[in-house]
């Protein structure tokens, strides 16, 4: 019973931190919790999509040709998982009139990604046991947030953009960045070389720094005006 709690705790803890950090009315804690749950269910969809790629295409994790393996990590796992998270954001966040600010995209994307990572952690707990779980909790849970933050921010910019082309480019751009981050992270970890694994750790740190910078620029400041952005419109 303890291990599932350990599997879920990092994601819940990080989400709680985000909720505490959030000074606006929207998204509120309730919505973030709902997004986290739906992010978790999107992990199921990703599992099915990943399986389909392995079963019906030549791409798989141990394919003989290097290019097939690399494509699997980027266009197989990376695209499927980020697309699954994106569907939740598109269904629940993007249509909301209140959704206008990039920091809202950042928070909501983090919530979905943490839910996804929490469920993935539960699955890995079965597969690899406690040591892997602890490493994943420290590394992969924040990594998932790091992959999806640019997607959420770009979603907000797409919402603001005028014209179909600009909106589309923001959406595709966000997904491309998320998939690239995710794919690169998988590629570093898929090799046996320790130094390549270390690049994955460095990538997580860089992504967290990027998310921090975005948050710093985008979160509403408490300037005493008492009018946080993002009111329900």
């Amino acid at each position: 019973m303890l291990l599932p709690v350990v599997a879920l705790a990092p994601a819940i803890g990080l989400l709680w931190l985000l909720a505490m950090w959030n000074r606006s009315d929207w998204p509120n804690g309730g919505l973030l919790a709902v997004l986290m749950c739906l992010g978790g269910s999107s992990a199921g969809l990703a599992l099915v999509l990943n399986h389909s790629v392995e079963k019906y295409s030549a791409l798989w994790s141990d394919a003989p040709a290097l290019h097939l393996r690399l494509l699997f990590w980027v266009l197989g796992i990376g695209l499927n998982e980020e697309f699954s998270k994106l569907l939740v954001l598109l269904a629940l966040v993007y249509p909301r009139r209140s959704f206008t600010e990039p920091y809202q995209g950042l928070l909501t994307a983090c919530a979905v990604a943490l839910g996804f990572a929490a469920v993935e952690n539960l699955v890995y707990l079965e597969r690899y046991g406690t040591p892997t779980l602890l490493v994943r909790s420290l590394l992969t849970v924040p990594a998932h947030a790091g992959f999806t933050v640019p997607l959420g921010v770009c979603l907000a910019y797409a919402r603001r953009a005028e014209g179909l082309l600009r909106k589309y480019l923001w959406l595709v751009g966000g997904l491309t960045v998320a998939v690239t981050f995710h794919g690169a992270y998988n590629i570093w970890l898929s090799f046996d070389q320790e130094w390549l694994n270390r690049i994955a750790y460095m990538q997580v740190v860089l992504m967290l720094v990027l998310a921090g910078l975005l948050a710093r620029f985008e979160l509403p400041r408490n300037d005493g005006a008492g009018t946080p952005r993002g009111q329900e419109g």
Partner: protein
Amino acid sequence: MAPPDEQRDAAPIAGGESPARGEPSPGGEATSLELKASASLGVAALREQARRTYRRGNRYFELRIPNLALAEWRQAGRIWRTADAASRGSRQRIGDLRAVVLLLLTVLLILNLVYGLFPRDAADQSVNPAEEAEEEGQSWWVHWLDTGHPEAPGAPSVTLREWWQRVQRRWRTGEEEPPPAIAARPDLDERWGELLARYRTRGAEPLDFHLLAGYGFIGTGDFRKAAHAFEEGLHGARMPRQRANLYQGLANAFYYEGYRTGADGLARYDLGQVRKAAGAYERSVAAEARALPLGNLGWMYFLLGEYERAEQASLRALSLDKSLYYVRLNLGLTYLVQDRFEEAYAAYRAVLLSQPDDEVLSGGIDDLRTVLRDHPGRFPFADLMIGLLERAAGDAPRAERSLRKFLHAREMARPWRRLAERALQNLTAPVGDL
């Protein structure tokens, strides 16, 4: 008419109709309330309201009440701007929807490209999962979960099949923790490492329990458990040799699982299993190029009809170990089915000159017969080779039958016919004398 700045506000409103008498007076508090209420209206209704308000202003102007006229025109301008904003919001939502649809189509296109540009090998799909499931009494779902690939070590992903198996196990046994046998000895691997480091003979390879277990299961004929043991071993295998061994064992398990002997005593192969075995042999060879798995890989390619790759793998195996007779026989067979008779004969002759055991010869004969069974009348040259192999094995009556059968096939070139005739004339002479 209205002053220029007010006209600009109400510019889109055309005409100057007189408002009906008795309409409510505009301006002041009533006006702002009216504006708030109008915000909930549709764009067309708002514009119509703005027009009516503007006309009221015109009417007041005609009645020489400029203050009220000015207030009405200002109000008309505000309502018109509200309608503009509502229209923009509506366009924005449609634009958002279109962008989302385009994005979804883009993702679908990319996935389509992935499946279209990198399709799974057709041989992989050759086995109908429904039929296979029916044969083995398993659900279609279980077969769908099987990707046909061996599990990969060190990969940062969990497959649907693994997840499903674990859910099933939990459901059946209620197991939450690892099995007690493992839990009771969590330090087993570490202890073995320490003991081996202390007592092992210098130069000896470390003991791999998964490898031992896998081959043990192969010995008992439980190939699925064997495959599972090898796959479990691969999760922790880091050294190339260890991985090569485990993949080789895994490939053997897949191959034997799909191997059946027919009523004619000849082999029948499940090509799906052969494909899986080929994949595992490829990984074994990638980890460490060794003659035996290379030779086996060549045979897998032969069974899958990939003759060029079969030839390459067999030649590579022979370059590492020339004494692998079965690989040379496979190479001969590969040449034979491509109608490259000179090269085929050279390969068979090399084996015959080496005077191998009867077991090697009978293996070669069975493979040739399997080819004849699967392609009746297509490869008469196979009869000549069977005759030569039977002759070398000391089975003169069968050799004579095979050679005569070959001579009945009239399409073969004269030199081969002469060879068969010479072999028939002296059924005991060494092949070198023919």
